[in-house]
């Protein structure tokens, strides 16, 4: 928000002095037909420098609209559903039309009442147009100014919404004024679309220009370089022809080629096409669809437990889902030139993929059906969480990284190892929950060997988890020792990782010592899921330490829901255990240690 504060004064002046976007000189020009496919494609392919990296304009538009509208589409005044690129075309070339599109999600209408507008005819959670919000803007920015001074943690939900809404309106206005300079406006207003790569091809990491930046550089004794002048002229032509769909399209294609060529000359267009293809194909959506289909297969497996077809199709669909997810992760690695995990969003993808892959492996070895059911459920839940997080966070999921994270060696070793540790911990918790709930409802009551097999699987996964959690945690310390000069600093994230390791060591020692048997191990592993969740997400919400990212409240409630479910499962497992103990004579189960002691005694006696 600091950028927001800095630009605040300029903003208020803009809002109050301007009579709004409706009063533009060419207000009579409106878009009369939908944008053509080729126009959308050409505009989406233009590279833009945003958030410290080069990305396609389609990605930029997609996250810009997600931030404002909470989804990747907007409804125009004519009822047309606009995709992000069409919306961005409207905002930049037909701001008068865009002002009438429903582009602003307001989650609670109290925020609207707070800025003095009427909510008649609107739902409590509804989408608003710029034009509808315009009368309340002086009050919106005045309130946002006051609320912004309050520490984010201490703000009420309405105060936060007012601040967010003001920030969104400001972003919209920045975009809408991108080409004001061509209509006699001030070129210093339109810095949003930094799509022009510098002509200089040697200076790496140089900021790109928005057309307005170049125009602002023109003075009585200062003219543009011929190449820059040609780009500006083409933009001017484009704006002039905006009402003529055919001419607009051909000019836009020519402009795109020019901008792409400039980016290519600097070697900065390398992965833009791949990113376009990644979002166009959207492997994560297809992976989710595959997991949901597998989930349906799971339902059929419950209804017809002996059906081989249901089992095979669930296994196939889950494997396809996993492959698609792995494809998505690999594509992201290539685009970012990074190891698979460097942001929280990517941890979700990676954890989901590893959980599913390990479960599919277990199923292939055992063919006992519970692993594949768990895999389908985890795949579906994992990708819903990923989508939910993306919608809540509303930020580009391939951001630039701060200096300390700029090390592919440690990202590849420590981060990957610890994330596999999370995955295995979560998988163990899911399998253990399967065991405990199954026991409660009498699943496989007559086949104790199948249950024992499931418990043994939980044990195996905990062992797998321990290797990666331990190595990942210690490598984290070694990285910290290389970055800050201390191996261990009791930072919350470090403590969280330590808690995971300790819990898994306790489980294995207690099992070996005979203190935990199948039921106990599964209860501990199910509880262990909450320890992983605490370390993965919970410590970030504490607001202290080196890994404090500051989140929205949605994550808080999702996390507590998960804690509640897992504790509930552990409690129910306890009930099932007590019930069994009361009804059956407790037959001691041999453990390795007891077995060893008995053998030793027998040898001594002999």
């Amino acid at each position: 928000m600091s950028t927001f504060i800095r630009q605040f004064c300029a903003l208020i002046a803009l809002v109050l002095v301007s009579a709004g976007l409706n009063a533009r000189p060419q207000a009579s020009e409106h878009r009369t037909q939908p944008w053509s496919e080729r126009t959308l494609e050409a505009f989406g392919e233009i590279p833009i420098q945003d958030g410290g990296r080069i990305k396609p304009l389609s990605t930029y538009a997609s996250f810009a609209l997600l931030r404002l509208n909470g989804k990747r589409s907007a409804e125009s005044s004519t009822g047309e559903v606009l995709d992000p690129v069409a919306w961005l075309l409207d905002v930049t070339f037909f701001p008068e039309d865009a002002a009438l599109s429903k582009s602003f999600l307001v989650s609670d209408s109290d925020a609207i009442i707070a800025i003095g507008l009427s909510t008649d005819g609107k739902k409590k959670r509804d989408r608003w147009t710029y034009a509808e919000l315009l009368p309340g803007m002086p009050r919106l920015f005045s309130l946002a100014h006051d609320y912004d001074a309050i520490e984010a943690k201490a703000r009420t939900s309405i105060q936060q919404q007012v601040v967010d809404l003001a920030s969104n309106v400001f972003s919209f206005m920045r975009l809408a004024r991108s080409f004001d300079w061509s209509r006699g406006g001030d070129p210093s207003d339109g810095h949003a679309l930094t799509v022009i790569a510098p002509a200089n091809t040697t200076n790496v990491d140089q900021p790109w220009f928005a057309p307005a930046n170049l125009v602002a550089g023109i003075g009585p004794n200062r003219s543009l370089e011929p190449a820059d002048a040609a780009v500006v002229a083409e933009f001017e032509t484009l704006i002039r022809l905006r009402a003529d769909a055919g001419a607009f399209e051909s000019t836009l294609i020519s402009l795109r080629d020019r901008l792409v060529a400039r980016a290519m000359a600097r070697g900065e267009y390398e992965h833009v096409e791949l990113e376009r293809a990644y979002y166009a194909f959207d492997p994560i959506r297809w992976s989710l669809a595959s997991f949901i289909a597998a989930f349906l297969g799971v339902s059929i497996m419950w209804l017809r437990p002996r059906s081989k077809l249901a089992w095979k199709s669930t296994l196939a669909l889950t494997s396809v889902g996993a492959l698609l997810l792995v494809t998505a992760i690999v594509l992201r690695c290539i685009i970012r030139e990074r190891p698979p995990v460097s942001t929280l969003y990517e941890t979700v993808l990676f954890v989901t993929a590893s959980c599913v892959l390990v479960a599919v492996f277990i199923e292939c070895v055992q063919r006992s059906r519970f692993a594949i059911q768990t895999a389908a459920v985890l795949g579906t839940v994992g990708l819903f969480v990923a989508n939910g997080y993306e919608t809540l966070d509303k930020q580009d999921t391939m951001p630039s990284l701060v200096a300390v994270l700029d090390t592919n060696f440690w990202l590849a070793t420590h981060v990957t190892a610890i994330t596999i540790g999370y995955s295995a911990g979560m998988l163990a918790a899911a399998l253990a929950s399967f065991y405990l709930l199954g026991k409660l409802i009498g699943w496989k009551r007559d086949e104790p060997e199948t249950r024992r097999k499931l418990a043994r699987t939980v044990y195996g996964v905990v062992c797998f988890a321990l290797i990666f959690s331990t190595v990942g945690t210690i490598l984290g310390g070694v990285w910290a020792n290389d970055s800050w000069g201390r191996f261990w600093g009791w930072d919350p994230k470090e403590n969280g990782a330590l808690l995971i390791v300790i819990s898994q060591i306790v489980m294995l020692h207690a099992r070996r010592g005979g203190y935990l048997r199948d039921d106990g191990l599964c209860m501990a592993a199910a509880f262990g899921g909450t320890i992983v969740a605490f370390s993965w997400w919970g410590v970030n919400l504490l607001g202290v330490g080196l890994h404090s990212y500051g989140f929205t409240s949605g994550i808080h409630s999702a996390l507590w829901t998960y804690y509640g479910i897992q504790w509930g499962v552990v409690g129910l497992g306890g009930v099932a255990w007590l019930r069994e103990r009361a009804t059956r004579k407790n037959v001691p189960v041999e453990t390795p240690v007891l077995e060893h002691r008995r053998a030793k005694k027998m040898r001594a006696a002999a």
Partner: protein, 386 residues
Amino acid sequence: MKRFARCLLAVFSSLGTSCILLVLLGLLTWLGTLEQTRTGLFEVQRKYFESFFLVHRFGSIPIPLPGANLVMCLLAVNLFVGGLVRIRKSWATFGIIVAHVGIAMLLASALVKYEWSEDGHVTLYEGQRADHFESYFRWEIALIRKEDDGKTREWLVPHERIEDAQRSRVRVSMTDVPFELEIESLARNCRPEWAKDAGAHGPIVVDGVRLVSRAVDARAEANIAGACVSVVDERDGIRRRALLWGAEAKPFTFFAAGKPWALSLRKERYEMPFALQLARFTKEDHPGIDMPKSFQSDVKVASAGVERDVKISMNEPLRDGGLVLYQASWGPSNARPGDRLFSTFAVVRNPADQWPLAACLVIAAGLLFHFVRKLVRYVQLEARAA
């Protein structure tokens, strides 16, 4: 007696003891993590992780707990007796024993770091040179005499002796010094103020100034200590009293035995086996935004008459002469292009610097051997059953 010893050995080596101690360590880690939202890391570290006993308040209910230091000492004994000495030796336990050796190495490196490491920082403006680094929060009183040949000679009062002054006056005599120092009082965090009324109680007033104590900051490095020190010369019966404040730019100076002396309260200093000069500091941002992409200091390291150029950046420290120097901070934060910048390096002398990495490899090897062996046997068993 023998039976008791055997019983004690059995308790110390048991898996039950391991479980209880690990659960306690987990509990302390969890409580210490949550407590950080209320008090600072430094306080939490002292209370939960570097203590032998503590009282955790759960609301208004006090719960006595063993500190992590005690738990880890007992765990080390448990690991050694149960996990290395008494454990059955066979291929089935080989991996576990190796992993336990790795954990013992990790504990040993923690002990060495805790007992024998020194850490601090050195801050240099571009062009500046230093041959020592300073502690973050340990103080010392330096007595400096200017010799006839223009050189200086130093005597130091260490941190622990100064801290004793919180309880009672501390008399310090030093060889070749014709007087004694008496530390009359010490404040861990204070600031000087003009004393309008010099009352009989309260802080000592010297030349109309007194040191007013402030609440101790949870961030240990933010505290500025202050002391009232008297120079007591028994021969001429003169007593010179001075207020020393940690953030004072200039020392207290006086003449005694015909020579000029200076007295200053400063952060503890440690010699470096080389001289360090900052040639240039570079901070790069990602293009178009404020997010830092890299920090880098170009330094010259001079030792034994040889000078070499070294780059120190995030994740790439300088290791030389038993010291490790890290890029820690920079400034001034409001510097404009062309302004002279400073760079701060965290400096650590840790004999166990790379031990954790070795321990990690040993643990990984042990666990992998053990679990892969088990997995292979399990898969074979399943294949046979199928």
